[in-house]
């Protein structure tokens, strides 16, 4: 299981402020806390800094890497910002978030995946729009899988994101994702699957509960990576317990470690 720590994102108010003030200490503290809490990757997203995203990305990547030696998830809609981040990424194999089946996006991002030998999040959408059903998603997914693997990207480096939509505006939104994850797992057993969790609960109360349960449900279907807040100890505890129950934790060692770290203490 791959946990991508989502906190360093300038759409979050505290991070936005810290980035604007070039507050090295705060950014480094958040990076360190996420890794200590179990994040395997640290997401870096400064997409809201539309006027100087490239410079901000460079500063963020350098700042984070002075604090932690974790690989980074370079998260941006802007290929120039992604490349700026990749050029500086020093630890492990970076992850690009994201490529899609949209022609323009695909053609911009693929060369970066190949040049920097990265892992890549592949969003199940293309120029025909946002997918509704699991089968819609699978069509985009199949197409992406073929193009990426033919281009030389290893299956192990592909992370399909099924595209999570709010259940508040479409009763079947959660179910379609669960079905998609199941289908991807059956058809492409060697690729990974990743998602964020907060979209699903948009517009509803007690969002944490829905997010936590959706994590367990998607993992049951085969999801193996999450973009989440690793400082949310309940979520992290559930993620580990869920993996243990799904037979992914020999001798329950990870579960016991998490127990000893106190994540289940109330």
């Amino acid at each position: 299981m791959l946990i991508i720590g989502e906190l360093i994102n300038t759409s979050r108010k505290a991070i936005n402020e810290a980035v604007e003030n070039r507050d090295v200490e705060y950014i480094q503290r958040i990076a360190r806390e996420q890794v200590e809490a179990g994040a395997n990757y640290v997401d870096v997203n400064c997409g809201t800094m539309v006027f100087d995203e490239v410079e901000t990305m460079e500063w963020l990547v350098n700042t984070v890497q002075e604090a932690v030696q974790a690989p980074l998830c370079i998260d941006s809609p802007n290929p120039r910002a992604i490349e700026a981040g990749l050029t500086l990424a020093r630890y492990g194999q970076p992850l690009i978030n994201s490529i899609t089946g949209e022609n323009e996006r695909y053609n911009e991002i693929l060369p970066l995946v190949l040049k920097y030998k990265t892992k890549v999040v592949a969003l199940c959408m293309d120029d025909s729009g946002m997918p509704e059903t699991a089968e819609d998603r699978m069509q985009v997914g199949r197409n992406l899988h073929q193009r990426l693997t033919e281009a030389g990207v290893a299956e192990d480096d592909i992370y399909f994101d099924p595209l999570v939509k709010p259940v508040s505006t479409g009763d079947k939104a959660g179910l379609e994702v669960l079905d998609t994850v199941k289908l991807i797992t059956e058809e492409f057993p060697n690729v990974h699957k990743v998602c964020g969790l907060s979209n699903v609960s948009f517009g509803l109360p007690n969002r944490k509960i829905l997010n936590q349960l959706f994590m367990v449900q998607t993992m049951t279907m085969g999801m193996d990576s999450y973009i989440l807040n690793p400082l949310d100890t309940t979520m992290m505890g559930y993620a580990q317990a869920s993996a243990t129950l799904l037979g992914k934790d020999p001798y329950c060692m990870n579960y016991l470690n998490v127990h000893r770290k106190g994540l289940y203490d109330k």
């Binding site: 759409s11 997409g47 995203e53 508040s168």
Partner: protein, 213 residues
């Protein structure tokens, strides 16, 4: 009077069938169509708005209420001449070019409609030229743009620039919304306002057209 209360209550509880029934009964009895709208349908939706803002009602319930209200409106509308339809103002709404996010913007459309606005919902992936065309055609007081992507939010700026070039900027107020945008971004690109959610957007529109609903 109690009938209006029941109609409003049925809108609030999102009871599509009941709203249609009561509306039809009222029409049959000869109740003034505008009164059915104002004292029944919109009255109910106004309560929904307040409760939504107070987090006492949630998105799916608002959608049910809006759908129920639309069911009633459908029956009443044919009885009213276009010119007499009560309208607080006209709003052209769209998600900007390159962006396919529809949900938030459509929620805003729903809330604005139920607040008495005439809403022209252009859909998603709307180029600056598309907004210009719709503004020329529908002459709205307000144009609202949505973006959920940090790459597409700059297309809001492009639309405002084109409005200026086309000499239309003074004729409409521009409002923006969507996860990556903010009040300060609105100011930076020269928009007239930012709505953090659908209710804020409605209040903002009412303020901008200078009338109360």
């Amino acid at each position: 009077m109690s009938n209006f209360n029941e109609l409003a209550e049925s809108v609030i509880s999102g009871n599509f069938g009941r709203v249609k029934e009561i509306t039809q009964e009222m029409i049959n009895k000869g109740v003034e169509p505008l009164q059915i709208i104002n004292d029944g349908l919109i009255a109910g939706m106004n309560v929904v708005g307040v409760r939504f803002k107070a987090e006492d009602m949630f998105v799916p319930e608002v959608m049910m209420s809006a759908k129920a209200m639309a069911g009633g409106m459908e029956l009443v509308k044919p009885l009213i001449a276009e010119t007499e339809m009560p309208s607080v103002g006209t709003v052209v709404l769209g998600t900007v070019k390159g962006d396919l996010h529809d949900i938030g913007k459509s929620l805003v459309a729903m809330i604005l409609e139920s607040g008495g606005f005439k809403v022209i919902n252009l859909g998603t992936d709307i180029a600056p030229e598309g907004f210009i065309k719709a503004i020329r055609e529908h002459k709205p007081q307000i144009v609202g743009m949505s973006a959920l992507l940090t790459t597409t939010m700059l297309n809001m700026k492009a639309t405002i620039e084109l409005l200026k070039e086309e000499g239309l900027r003074d004729q409409v107020k521009v409002i923006i919304g969507g996860a990556p945008v903010s009040q300060s971004f609105a100011e930076e690109i020269g928009a007239d306002g930012y709505g953090s959610d659908a209710m804020v957007a409605k209040d903002l529109c009412i303020k901008l057209v200078g009338k109360a609903s």
